[in-house]
Amino acid sequence: MLPNRSRTSVLVFLLPPLLLYCAAVLFPILQSLFLSFFSWNGISEMEFVGLANYVRMLTADDIFWRSFFNALLYLAICLVLQLGGALVVASLLTSLRRGRELIKTLYLLPAVISTVAIAFLFVRIYSIDPVGLLNQLLHWVGLGSFERAWLSDVNTVLAAVSAPEGWRFTGLYMLIIYAALIAVPKELEEAAVLDGASKWTLFTKIRFPYIRPVWITTTIMATTYGLRGFDIPYLMTNGGPGQSSELLTTYMYKTAFTSTDFGYASTISVFIVIECLVAVGLILFMLKRKADS
């Protein structure tokens, strides 16, 4: 327990960042909440419409639901690639004797490339006419029947725009998980090996429980990043063809800045805030229950 005087000083030092946070995060959220009850195109008079925007969003807007489910699928693909990929690579790295630094750096590289460059790069990779890298590879390995215009095919486009986002941050999460893995006490692992634990048991009973706090943090980070994913799909396909790669975020952005329907766009953004809170709550709940059992 801190003495009284220093608690005051801690509060004094905490206040400026808190105020900054309120101004930059809470205030816009509250403003969106406020705007979501209005119909407003930016230059007209604001018209109070009550819950009409929410009713329209939940009951009458097919694009909204389409983009909501797209966003969930996008999230799932990103999570599998980012967290699954990161865990696999990090685990393999710990058993590597040489060249760890080099491999770590190589995996981290995509995280420092600018988003726009990544988007352009992948548009080329997926291209069919002229033939891009992916279709060329498929051709070489004899899977020519799988060649397609990945970004124009309504069945593949969502996965195609999710993969670059997943690929991009795998290295970053790998680094965090790797740091946690090498902090697992060697004595514990050795004791388990002496007791005849297999590699799998070692991982599930010793290593993973040990890195669980870090795992929770990375899961929350990856989920919130995934839920607000915007730039790569927007740049690569602009939500198309049709609404096949439209996410809630890109739809919200278009509603606000192309359709100038600021009231309805605010309604969607309020939904995104709630969705993020629910997702984080769910993750904490599930992981806590697992830890308790």
Binding site: L26, S44, S127, I128, D129, A149, S152, V154, G242, T258
Partner: protein, 445 residues
């Protein structure tokens, strides 16, 4: 801590109330085009959406420098965002914040009409008349800028004609000739595909090029009024002209007229396909003359390239010399900041602009100057410019400047699906008629 939150909430609510009140702002009389008073030089800004080193910007920079010599302290700050969707977002956000600069670019969109209705733009008809240059303009160039009610609030700086460019050698190879009717195109595409040639190169990424095609059949079948009625919900895609275009677009898709994966290909991808001799046709305007009708064009295809104008159809209500002839995005004058200086500068610039612009080899929006043909031009250059002299009275308006933005966005998305065969013409019709019904009333009250 609870107290702190309560205080923060109150502060947030108060700030909200303040911003909500701050939206207004007084606009001066938009019809007062000759303000009196002293000319006080200052810096003025033009928010525009034109290529950064293009002719319009270069000429206006030069004219502003000339003007500044006589009026020390004057400067023209050109802020350009060539990417149109980003530009529109910027413009709309600034308009919402009531922070539009002295001059800004806009098409004759429903949004712009609302700005005009609110008195935020100077009446360009009166302005051009008062500067005594109104009669110099091509009627078509001004008509392109007009709103549906005939009012004029934007000044054109370009005049372009849109053609379908084609590769004679590829057409011959497939045994097809220039289409006599729009309805011939799907069959042409099939023949070209059978000969292993991409029929039409199109920039699918930017969406407006595909949207041009949907405008063609109704323009021939029902004239320029169709889209004006359609956007207000007075006509629909279920009508005869609407159904004809929906079916035609689906047929283009079925005949594989556009390159595979076109929806993810950009402007330069499409142009490269055509200029490298892979695609037989390419629909683009005279702004590309410097790359399609000069020695910059790939020598291998240079002698094979020609163009035709929009084909007619049987029973067409518009003539062969009537097609898409846009005068580009127009410049609007902010009425709030319009003063003797802005007026005097515009008088200076608009008088000198046409001659300078025509000297660059482009078509001026006025008829009082002769376009200079560049030394490296191919014979096509002259042929293209001469087409401007025989234009008819009606013009096909690009639909993206006509429809309300939400319907327009939906149309662009659904068109790709229709052409790719992901939805049926019936689904397309139902979705689009529904979208117009829902969105049009808000914009066209």
């Amino acid at each position: 801590m609870k107290k702190l939150f309560r205080a923060a909430a109150v502060a947030a609510a108060a700030a909200l109330a303040l911003t909500a009140c701050g939206g207004g702002g007084t606009a001066s009389d938009p019809s007062n085009v000759s303000p009196t008073g002293e000319i006080k030089p200052r810096e003025i800004s033009w928010l525009l959406s034109r290529p950064a080193d293009g002719a319009v910007i270069n000429i206006m920079k030069k004219l502003a420098d000339d003007y500044a010599k006589e009026h020390p302290g004057f400067a023209l700050n050109l802020i350009t965002t060539p990417d149109r969707p980003s530009y529109i977002q910027k413009l709309e956000t600034l308009a919402a914040a009531n922070k539009l600069p002295e001059l800004f670019d806009t098409d004759a969109t429903p949004f712009a009409q609302e700005l005009a209705k609110q008195g935020k733009m100077v009446d360009a008809h009166k302005l051009l008349k008062s500067l005594d240059v109104y009669d110099d303009y091509r009627p078509g160039a001004l008509d392109y800028q007009r709103f549906d009610d005939g009012s004029l609030y934007m000044i054109p700086f370009q005049f372009e004609l849109e053609f379908i460019w084609y590769n004679k050698a590829l057409m011959e190879k497939a045994g097809v000739s220039v289409p006599k009717s729009l309805d011939d195109i799907p069959a042409m595409c099939t023949a070209l595909r059978n000969a292993g040639i991409t029929p039409i190169a199109i920039d699918g990424q930017d969406q407006w090029p595909l949207e041009r095609y949907v405008a063609y059949q109704p323009f021939r079948e029902a004239g320029p009024d169709f889209v004006q009625k359609l956007k207000k919900g007075e006509a629909s895609f279920s009508d005869a002209a609407g159904q004809k275009t929906v079916k035609w677009m689906a047929d283009l898709g079925k005949a594989k007229c556009f390159q595979e994966g076109f929806s993810a290909q950009g402007y330069s991808d499409a142009q490269n396909q055509f200029t490298s001799g892979q695609a037989a046709m390419y629909n683009i305007g005279t702004w590309e003359l410097p790359s399609l009708a000069t020695d910059k064009l790939n020598p291998e295809v240079r002698d094979d390239i020609d163009f035709f104008t929009l084909p007619t159809t049987e029973g067409s209500v518009t003539a062969a010399n009537e097609f898409v002839s846009p005068s580009g995005i127009g410049m609007a004058v902010n009425s709030k900041t319009y003063d003797p200086l802005v007026s005097d500068f515009l008088k200076f610039a608009l008088e000198k602009y046409p001659a300078e612009y025509a000297a660059t080899g482009a078509l001026s929006p006025t008829t009082n100057v002769q376009t200079a043909i560049p030394a490296n031009a191919t014979p096509l250059y002259k042929k293209a410019l001469e087409t401007a002299n025989t234009l008819g009275d009606k013009q096909a308006m690009p639909w993206d400047t006509q429809l309300d933005p939400t319907t327009n966005g939906r149309l662009q998305q659904e068109l790709v699906l229709l052409v790719q065969g992901n939805i049926t013409p019936e689904q397309f019709t139902k979705t689009m008629d529904g979208a117009i019904k829902q969105n049009a009333p808000k914009f066209f009250k």
